[in-house]
């Protein structure tokens, strides 16, 4: 390396130099890092990504530090996933990645390439609801609706894994989703109703 960058010297310099100067240092440091597998580091300037979302191919150009949630909402206009805490504590940003429920606020867009991403928009539409969506409406299992897409994703993943979940399994599947309006009791009721009806 031609210049040793310590964390302390980096922060000290950032506080007194213009951001452009700091960025140049980071770029230089990134370029000079020799990783074990010889891969070139990405960024910090925007890079081109390809994301597979709801069966469609999307090309975006974003900085590597941008989350999947940010890209979905603010670049692809898929605003069903919500930004509520942005730190993996509430589940409002839940999407499916290869069928598994994932907090999209905790995934960098760059690491989500070559994965199948499903958002709420890829499930049903207001006139063509999936069984769990229909049941949530029928049981009045939503109020302000802000947490609802996240719950739908978690429950959709649950039914893929377990067609007839018990109440305990339902509660566990929902344990990563918060609701401030307090719709939990009816979410359980709706999910149990779908479980009893069986797979469709």
């Amino acid at each position: 390396m031609d210049e040793q960058i310590s964390r302390r010297s980096f922060f000290r310099n950032v506080s007194s130099a213009a951001i452009a100067g700091a960025l140049a240092k980071v770029t230089a440091a990134a370029q000079s890092v020799d990783s074990l597998d010889g891969q070139k580091p990405l960024g910090p300037e925007p890079i081109k990504l390809v994301l597979q979302v709801n069966g469609s191919r999307h090309e975006v150009e974003v900085e590597p530090r941008v989350t999947l949630l940010d890209v979905l909402r603010n670049r692809l206009r898929l605003t069903g996933a919500k930004e509520v805490c942005d730190r993996a504590t509430c589940g409002a940003c839940t999407v499916l990645v290869n069928g598994q429920p994932v907090y999209s606020c905790m995934k960098l867009a760059v690491e989500m390439q070559a994965h199948e991403i499903t958002t709420i928009e890829g499930l049903g539409s207001p006139t063509n609801l999936t069984p769990i969506q229909r049941a949530l409406v029928d049981c009045d299992a939503l109020m302000c609706g802000y947490c609802t897409p996240g719950f739908v994703m978690s429950l959709t993943a649950l039914f893929s894994a377990k067609p007839k979940p018990t109440l305990e399994e339902i509660k566990k599947a929902c344990s990563g989703n918060l609701c401030r309006c307090g719709t939990y009791p009816r979410i359980f009721e709706a999910t149990q109703r779908v479980a009893e009806a069986g797979p469709s």
């Binding site: 950032v14 213009a18 951001i19 452009a20 974003v62 900085e63 530090r65 941008v66 940010d70 909402r73 603010n74 605003t79 069903g80 996933a81 919500k82 930004e83 509520v84 805490c85 942005d86 730190r87 504590t89 509430c90 409002a92 958002t119 709420i120 928009e121 499930l123 049903g124 539409s125 207001p126 006139t127 609801l129 969506q133 949530l136 409406v137 029928d138 009045d140 939503l142 109020m143 302000c144 609706g145 802000y146 609802t148 897409p149 739908v152 509660k171 929902c174 344990s175 989703n177 918060l178 609701c179 401030r180 309006c181 307090g182 719709t183 939990y184 009791p185 009816r186 979410i187 359980f188």
Partner: protein, 690 residues
């Protein structure tokens, strides 16, 4: 009316198609963010925005105020930026240079009361003028009563924690401002924006079709709305400025704390005779009873509910260097209920009387006396109250009860109805739906008048170009909007009658009648009138809990709720409100507390990891009896249902362990302390009997 009706906007919400203020994206929109004071008190000498403006992607930067100015809490706004991405904004905020002199601060209520403590405002004492009230002869009554009990009870600062944060998407043109707001009061946003920019009100258009929760905290455009407008003007582009979760814990409201020293006495037959309360609490930096967002200071109704002839009450609001309080679902009442119902249970123990019997004896409300009887039967109170004293094993069961009172009621609201020649109906009202089911309620009322199904009615709300209505707070929306819609529909029906020549155009005659309109729709307006709504509801809740005396953990097993709300319009939505209020009350009882660090003055838990919201696993069995009283008109239900929950849970916990719970939230350390398993006396004052 009075039946289960599916939520009108259920499908659009459940499919992720509903657009909230945080989802709206006008062409060219910019991302906005706010720089907040990291210091609890400081004199800001200068703010240098130039480094921020040179960050790539940044299009505007403004200061919140012109230096020099004083900030009085950690989180107060300093500056704001707008740029092409969130990342650019984060970089820009980090680059802003702030020159500040730190000032002394105080963040604990007891400390703030002392004359020697730092003052939040230089020229004002931290403690506001106490509010004092007296009735009867308190000292005389205490002197001659049969039993007196006393206690010191505390409740915490609670945060609203709406899932959608506060904020707006704003588009400014020279002619007008369009604001998509996350709000409970579109007209309050319009008025505050118009005022802050000096623009006529009719040039400010506020839209809020869907919003992700308010709980009392979302009125006016907020500092964030004003900043977004200035950023949008400077950048000549729309700006979406939504707060972060971190911001929400600091600056957009909370429920005031309470510290209640209470004394209560009764005669031998259980009639309450004297009550004395000395209480204080904080509403944040706003001193003297006014707060930045409405809802009053830290005062609350006392004595709560019960009829007591001699009373003396002294309440003080004390300022600290923290974000201002704002009205939070039933402001004042949950604190009041906890203090009152706890001391009442102490009295029941002292007298050897059943707690429900003691309440019925002293409750002036006939509705609530009946509710206690209904609840007791559904809950199995008599069997459970007697048997819990002898709980075997380390996990103890207990039961408790509490009551609520609330106003609600209706006020000015207008609506417009349009009946089209093809039979379709549209109702427009400038009101809000916070998840409360307002749209559905409008459709139900119109459908009832016209003899149609609610799905045949199109209900439009949340737009200041629609007929005006009040803010959605105080549990007044249903009672305001339903009569206005009813009136508009009656007027429209009269017009349809004369236009069609059919004396009863409703129901099966609808298509025939409307077809006679040919090309001209019927358009009629209506307004709220006295007679279809009223004020005053009760509510009773009973709780069964389990307390693990080895870990101190409390589990709520069951809540029975008996609630009235006048005329029930939509049963399905009403019960959802009840579930929600109870779950919020469980959070108040067991988990939630905003914690300030007295060394640094910062909020220690501005996130969901350490500010705990009730989750799926924390929900008990909730058994609701919703009373439909059509003869009383529409009243309102949103708030009474969250008032007595924590009080009932606290009484149940005390009943389980045989020691009085004196502080909310009821945490494991408090339980273990009460059981003598921790050193010291964590509950402070000792409750006692004399």
């Amino acid at each position: 009316m009075g039946k289960d009706h599916l939520r009108y906007d259920g499908p659009i919400k459940v499919s992720g198609s509903a657009k909230y203020a945080s989802d709206v994206q006008p062409d060219g929109w910019l991302y906005g963010m706010i720089l907040r004071s990291p210091w609890p008190a400081a004199r800001i000498r200068g703010i240098d925005l130039r480094p921020a403006l040179s960050v790539p992607g940044i299009r505007a930067a403004v200061t919140a105020n012109d230096p020099p100015f004083t900030v009085r809490y950690c989180g107060e706004e300093l500056a704001a930026v707008a740029g092409l991405s969130k990342q650019a904004c984060l970089d820009a905020l980090r680059a802003i240079k702030v020159d500040a002199d730190l000032l002394p601060f105080v963040v604990k209520e007891e400390a703030a009361l002392r004359d020697t403590s730092p003052r939040v405002f230089e020229n004002l004492p931290n403690a506001g003028q106490p509010r004092e009230m007296q009735t009867g002869d308190v000292d005389g009554a205490f002197g001659i009563s049969y039993k007196t009990v006393q206690g010191f009870f505390q409740t915490q600062v609670q945060l609203h924690q709406c899932l959608e944060t506060h904020g707006n998407t704003i588009q400014v043109t020279p002619e007008e401002i369009t604001c998509w707001a996350s709000t409970q009061g579109i007209f309050s946003v319009r008025d505050s924006l118009a005022d802050s920019i000096g623009m006529p009100m009719d040039k400010v258009h506020v839209i809020s079709e869907f919003m992700g929760g308010g709980f009392g905290s979302k009125y006016g455009a907020g500092v964030e709305g004003g900043l977004a407008v200035r950023l949008s003007k400077e950048a000549r582009l729309p700006v979406r400025l939504m707060l972060t979760r971190f911001d929400e814990a600091l600056a957009v409201g909370n429920r005031p704390s309470s510290f209640q020293k209470v004394r209560l006495s009764a005669s031998k037959d259980g009639t309450l005779v004297a009550y004395e309360l000395e209480a204080f609490g904080t509403a944040g930096y706003a001193s003297g009873g006014t707060t930045a967002g409405g809802g009053g200071g830290a005062g609350f109704p006392a004595p709560y509910i019960y009829q007591i002839p001699s009373t003396r009450v002294r309440q003080t609001t004390v300022a600290i260097n923290a974000g201002s309080a704002r009205a939070m679902r039933a402001p004042g009442h949950p604190q009041a209920s906890f203090g009152m119902e706890s001391i009442l249970d102490e009295m029941a123990l002292a007298l050897g009387m059943d707690p429900v019997e003691l309440r019925i004896k002293n409750d002036p409300s006939e509705i609530r006396r009946q509710q206690y009887k209904i609840a007791a039967e559904r809950f199995g109170w008599n069997a459970r109250y007697r048997s819990v004293a002898s709980s075997e094993g380390p996990v103890k069961s207990g039961v408790g009860c509490a009551g609520a009172t609330w106003g609600g009621g209706g006020r000015d609201s207008e609506a417009e109805v349009r009946i089209n020649p093809d039979g379709s109906v549209e109702v427009r009202c400038g009101t809000q739906d916070l998840g409360t089911g307002t749209k559905t309620l409008i459709a139900i009322v119109a459908a009832e008048v016209f003899g149609l199904e609610p799905v045949a009615i199109s209900a439009s709300i949340g737009d200041t170009t629609f007929p005006p209505s009040g803010g959605s707070g105080g549990s007044t929306t249903a009672a305001s909007v339903a009569p206005a819609v009813f009136d508009a529909c009656q007027n429209a029906l009269a017009d349809l009658r004369s236009a069609s020549g059919i004396s009863d155009p409703t129901g099966l005659n609808w298509r025939t009648a409307t077809a006679r309109l040919r090309i001209n729709p019927v358009v009629a307006r209506g307004r709220w009138k006295e007679g279809l709504s009223s004020r005053g509801v009760g509510g009773v809740q009973m709780a069964e809990v389990e307390v693990d005396t080895e870990t101190g953990f409390v589990r709520v097993k069951r809540i029975v709720c008996v609630q009235d709300c006048g005329l029930v319009i939509n049963r399905l939505a009403s019960i959802s409100q009840i579930n929600g209020g109870i779950i919020l009350g469980i959070g108040f009882a067991l988990y939630e507390e905003r914690i300030l660090d007295d060394q640094t003055g910062v909020v220690l838990n501005p996130n969901f990891e350490t500010y705990k919201l009730p989750g799926a696993a924390d929900v008990p069995e909730i058994d609701v009896i919703l009373q439909d009283m059509p003869e009383r008109g529409v009243i309102g239900i949103g708030e009474p249902v969250t008032i007595p929950t924590a009080a009932a849970i606290a009484n149940a916990v005390s009943n389980a362990i045989g020691k009085r719970v004196t502080r909310l939230p009821i945490t494991p350390p408090q339980i273990l302390g009460l059981l003598g398993k921790l050193p010291g006396n964590p509950s402070g004052y000792k409750s006692g009997t004399s």
